[in-house]
Each structure stands twice: as C-alpha cells, then as structure tokens.
C-alpha cells in the first residue's frame, strides 16, 4: 500500500469515525448558516423593493400648449440624449385626458367645467438612470430641462425624492454593514466549531506524530473533513432556509436568493471549514 493509498484510507476512516459528534458539528454549522441565509433573503428582497421604488421615481415635463405633437417629440428626443436620462415617453393631450379620467374618475367634472375646447397640455414622462439618482443630479437635470424651448414646467418629487434617496442609501449601507458583521461572526462560528471537532481528536494527531507520520498525512484528512463539513453545513443551512422560505411564502410574498448568492454561501462554508480544520490540526501538531 503506497503512502497515498494509506492517506486515502485515513481520510475514509476519519470520515467514518464518531458519526454522532460529526452530526452535532454539522448541525451547529447549518444553524449558524440559517441566520445568515435568512439575512440574505431579507436583504435580497429589500434590494428588489428599493430598486422598484427607485425605478418609479421620475420627472414630468409639461410642454407649452402651442407646441405641436412633432415639436413635442423633438423636445423628447433632445431630453433623451441628455446624460442621466434613461427613457422619455411622450404623452399627448388626448392620452393625458384619458389618463386623468382613468386615474381620477371622481374629478372628471373639472374637465367638463373647462369646456370642450380645453385640452390638457402634452407632457413627457422621464425616467432617470440609477447613477443619476444616486449622485443627486435630478435637480440639475430639472433646471436644464426647464430651460429648453417649448417646456412649460418640469415637475419631480423635489419634496420627497432627496429623503427617499437618502433613506435608500442609508438602508443599503446598513445592509452592507450588517452583512460584514454576520459574515465575520458566521466565519468565526464555523471556524471554531470545525477547529474544536479536530482538537477533540487530538489523540489521533498525537499518535500520528509519535509514529512519524509526515505533516501532510496528519493534516489532509482533517482538511478534507473541514471542507466537507463546511460545504455540507452551509448547504444544509440553505436547505433549511429554503424550507422556511417556502413555509412563509403564503404569509409574506418574497423571493429566495439568487443562485450566485447560494454559491457564495457554500464557498464561505468551504473556506471557513478548511481554515478551521487547518488551525485545529496545526494547533495539535505543534
């Protein structure tokens, strides 16, 4: 039997021994990951909500009454070529009236009072890029658009938009901060859990040392155990979080995290498990 075959045999023996203790370690890792996974699901859904809210923020540009439809579309093209503008939609007077009647059915009498010759002004609905909003360039754009010939007024939520953007930015920063804290704490939990499971088998390491096993022969089985423990624990945590998410889906509408995030969670488990196993075996091998 070559030394490599012996090492493989050691790995197999190591994985077969103490199934009870290993199960407890696995559960601890999985439970730690459930907390992290829940946080990821919440932040993923929060991010989607914030994206949606931001996408609804826009500007309404009212055109002067004497402007024709073609001239209005030219103004629209001019605005859409401006930096920070994502899209421009031209609303004709007829469409504006239809929208008014659809959205405010109880106030249609106002239109009737104005007489048959009255027409709502044509307007342009503008959506800005995320970048433009995050950089607070909306008021500048408003001034530029307001100065274009044919534009009567440019209206946006100047009262609530700065507050909304500030809130969104603050929430994002908090999520990142909380994420860092959670990644650090979960890494420490997995690291110490796996390390402890290795240290618990210090007798094996001691015996390997005194019989003259090379360092890699001692460490490799523990490292493989650590990797498997980290992957299995994080995958188990994901599975439990998925079940929890499914159970709660009827009460709270939400989505589970994307595949790329799940891959990162499993990678985090593998890395922390490996480092914990290495630290445990090194500590005992010294």
């Amino acid at each position: 039997m070559s030394i490599l075959q012996s090492a493989v045999r050691e790995i197999a023996l190591n994985l077969h021994s103490r199934p009870g203790a290993r199960l407890i370690t696995l559960l601890m890792v999985a439970l730690a990951f459930i907390v992290f996974d829940t946080f990821l699901i919440i932040s993923w859904n929060l991010e989607s909500i914030m994206d949606k809210e931001e996408s609804l923020v826009g500007m309404e540009v009212f055109l002067q009454r004497e402007i024709s439809t073609n001239e209005g579309r030219v103004v629209g093209d001019l605005i859409s070529s401006m930096s920070g503008v994502q899209s421009v939609y031209f609303v004709s007077p007829q469409e504006a009236e239809a929208l008014f009647r659809a959205e405010l059915p109880g106030r249609t009498d106002l239109l009737d009072v104005m007489g048959n010759d009255f027409r709502l002004p044509a307007s342009l609905q503008i959506i800005f890029t995320e970048e433009a909003m995050s950089q607070g360039r909306i008021s500048d754009l408003s001034r530029q658009i307001g100065a274009i010939a044919g534009v009567e007024d440019a209206v946006y939520g100047e009262d609530y938009l700065p507050g909304l953007l500030k809130t969104v930015t603050t929430i994002r920063r908090l999520v990142i901060l909380l994420g860092i804290v959670l990644v650090s704490s979960i890494s420490l939990v997995v690291f110490y859990t796996v390390r402890l499971s290795v240290v618990r088998r210090s007798l094996t390491v001691d015996i390997m040392r005194i019989v003259g096993a090379p360092w890699w022969f001692i460490r490799v089985p523990f490292v493989i155990e650590g990797v498997l423990m980290g992957i299995a624990g994080s995958a188990g945590g994901l599975a439990m979080a998925a079940i929890l998410s499914e159970v709660l889906s009827t009460a709270v509408t939400h989505r589970f995290m994307p595949m790329s995030w799940m891959t990162l969670v499993i990678l985090l488990g593998a890395v922390t498990g490996t480092v914990g196993a290495l630290a445990g075996s090194y500590e005992k091998e010294r």
């Binding site: 030394i3 490599l4 077969h16 005194i210 090379p214 360092w215």
Partner: protein, 228 residues
C-alpha cells in the same frame, strides 16, 4: 552513542523541568530513569523523541541534533523511535491489527510487509486471537502489549517506555517489564521511565535517578530502597 545530552536545560514557564542534564545512552542498553512524579522523567523522554527542544544544551539522537533538525526531518527521526505510554494511546475506533500497523502505513509500506510484520508481532505478544478486536475489548495488560507491538513494528533502534506499568496490576506489570527486557535482549535500546525502579531486577540495566529536573546518578533507588 545512540543518545547524547549535553548541558540540557528545559523550562516550562518560569520553572525548570530539567537542568544540567548530561547523559549518554549506548546502543543495546536498558536504561531505567526513576524519580517521583514531576521529577522530569516524561520531559526527558520527550527530549529524546524531540517532542520538545531544550532551551539550552544539545540533544543528539541517532545523528539528529536538536539545534539543527528541521521540522520536516522530525518524522524521519520518530520512525526510528518506538514509544509506549502509561495510558496506551491506542486509537479506539480501529482494530488491534490497524493500531499496530499504523507506523508502517504512514511510511507507505507494502501490504504484504505490513501483514507479515504485524501478524508476527501479534503472535510474539500473544495477541493473535485479538487482531480483529477493538482496544476497549482488551484488558489493560493486553492494551499495553498492543502499544508495545505498535512501538516495535517499524524496527526502531530505541524504545521509550513512559511509566508503562503505571495503569497495570503488579502481575501484569511484571509481564510487561519482562517483555521490555526480552526486546532489549533482541538488541533494541530501551529507556524506561518509572516512579518505581524496583520493577526492573537489579543488574538488568543501568539505573538513573531524576530529582526536581536534575539527574542524581545511579543507585539512588537502592538508597531509597534501603531507607524505606
């Protein structure tokens, strides 16, 4: 000289565990190191298998010097040394055969060699019928014989026995000491640390006495025996 210690001192924290140790161990010798608990017997053996390195002085074992040995060379040295402990230190999830075979397996010895050597040693220790048992199924004496078989399986040139009879009753202790003497008669150097040197018959080995980390020389145990 198989083992040479020159001016060796080792402290754990502020307290010296060993001090001013000068010792030579010849090939084929049976050396008994006695002394009370905490005298430094285990530490002395650890210096021989280089589980610890001295703070000052030099330990030389089979050409490996404590001040020059590299970390990657330690396994090579330890493969030439067999070690037996008071608490046996067997792997409880493995069979007796696997426990004894371990030192050969970590060096990548072939299956046929492992089988032959382990079976022959188990027969010599009177444990052939126990080869598929697990350590917890054996008596203390049998477990210690397994530990000795494991220590001897890779043909070491020195066998270190740290209180090998500490957990055994007097009858079994005598058997274990007799086994160590028999191993020594086969040419293997044996260093036995014990708190009770009277276990080894006078004239069967060299006796040294350790007291508070300092080697007090031979025959001290005889004086103690006379005192008592």
């Amino acid at each position: 000289m198989l083992v040479t210690m020159t001016g060796v001192r080792l402290s754990y924290g502020r307290w010296p565990a060993l001090d001013k140790i000068n010792l030579e161990i010849r090939q084929g010798e049976f050396l008994v190191i006695s002394g009370p608990s905490g005298a430094g017997k285990t530490t002395l053996l650890r210096l021989i298998w280089m589980g610890d390195k001295p703070d000052s002085g030099i330990v030389e074992v089979a050409g490996f010097r404590s001040d020059r040995i590299k970390r990657r060379e330690l396994p090579q040295l330890r493969r030439k040394i067999g070690i037996v402990f008071q608490d046996f230190r067997l792997l409880h999830s493995r069979t007796i055969f696997d426990n004894v075979a371990l030192p050969l397996q970590v060096t990548g010895a072939g299956n046929r060699i492992v089988q032959k050597r382990v079976i022959s040693l188990l027969a010599r220790m009177g444990l052939s019928h126990r080869r598929n048992s697990f350590p917890h199924e054996l008596s203390g004496g049998e477990q210690q014989r397994v530990a000795i078989a494991r220590a001897m399986v890779a043909h070491p040139f020195i066998l270190l026995a740290d209180e090998p009879t500490g957990n055994l009753d007097p009858e079994v202790s005598r058997e274990v000491v007799e086994l160590l003497l028999e191993i020594n008669r086969g040419g293997t150097t044996v260093v036995m640390a014990t708190h009770d040197p009277r276990q080894v018959p006078a004239g069967k080995g060299r006796f040294l006495f350790l007291d508070k980390g300092i080697l007090r020389g031979a025959d001290r145990w005889t004086e103690l025996d006379q005192d008592s």
